[in-house]
């Protein structure tokens, strides 16, 4: 198998994730897009690990999964909090940083 198959798959998923981050208004959906990106990274890592031997990529991929889990936890907690305060999680309305 060409490694490029996995790598390009990873690239495609990453770019779809980027599109999602830019195009989606709902905060939860944006977080989902971020998960997409992280998964594509994992595929990348593991593909390279297979190419080069060794298992550093595996370790790193595991750590990414763990961090992603933590991040989603905290992220969603924040989204919840914002929802509680603002009654909306539409990123359009959450533009306090404007200007």
């Amino acid at each position: 198998m060409l490694i490029n198959e996995f790598l390009i798959l990873g690239a495609v998923l990453f770019c779809i994730g980027v599109y999602g981050v830019i195009a989606r208004k709902n905060a939860v959906l944006v977080l989902m897009s971020i998960e997409l990106m992280l998964n594509s990274v994992n595929i990348n890592l593991l593909a390279f690990d297979r190419l080069n031997g060794g298992n550093d990529g595996n370790v790193f991929a595991l750590y990414i999964i763990a961090v992603a889990a933590a991040e989603v936890g905290v992220g969603l907690a924040m989204v919840l909090l914002i929802f509680r305060n603002r009654k909306t999680i539409s990123l359009d309305d959450l533009s306090e940083m404007k200007g």
Binding site: C15, L46, V59
Partner: protein, 176 residues
């Protein structure tokens, strides 16, 4: 140059199907107007990813993926969807106006650059995906050795991160 004898048909077909599912699922995540559909498409993507990991002989990671990502993270997402009173069914308010006009070019540009680089860089590099000669136990042993010796520090840090995340999430989301 690819010789016919070197093409492993089964793995490629398997990869192809799973990849297609993943991509379609991903597209659904970013294009669906139903939040729950998007979440479930994400589940599909992650499952596909787990299958790919198996193809890449990373069984431990595949299992971890399924357990953690699909089992915990996606549930978390669905809880989030529920608690933020996402509209069940079609929701017209999920996309930025003209968001695709900005996102598509950026994504495509990024894709273009990355593909170009990848194709140019790893033209004919092959990876071995056959199961022959794969000693999973030894591999797992090596993996655990790596984690607990070479990468023990990140492991410890990671544990603190998880602890902080848990406590943080609780603190953030408390009612009082």
């Amino acid at each position: 140059m690819l010789l016919a004898s070197e093409i492993e048909v089964a793995q490629n077909v398997g990869f192809g199907i799973i990849a297609t599912v993943m991509v379609l699922g991903a597209l659904n995540v970013v294009r669906s107007s139903n939040v729950v559909h998007a979440a479930l498409s994400l589940v599909a993507v992650m499952s596909g990813a787990a299958a790919q990991y198996l193809l890449l002989s990373a069984e431990f990671v595949a299992v971890t993926q399924v357990l953690v990502y699909i089992g915990a993270v996606m549930v978390l997402f669905l809880f989030g969807v529920m608690l933020t009173r996402a509209k069940l069914g079609k929701d017209v308010d999920l996309n930025n106006d003209k968001g695709w006009a900005l996102g598509a070019p950026v994504a495509l540009l990024l894709l273009g650059v990355m593909s170009y680089v990848l194709i140019k860089g790893f033209k004919d590099d092959k990876i071995v995906v056959s199961g022959k000669g794969n000693d999973s136990a030894a591999a797992n042993r090596a993996l655990s050795d790596s984690i607990f010796s070479s990468y023990a520090l990140p492991f410890w840090a990671l544990s603190f991160v998880l602890l902080a995340a848990v406590i943080g999430a609780i603190v953030l989301a408390r009612k009082d």
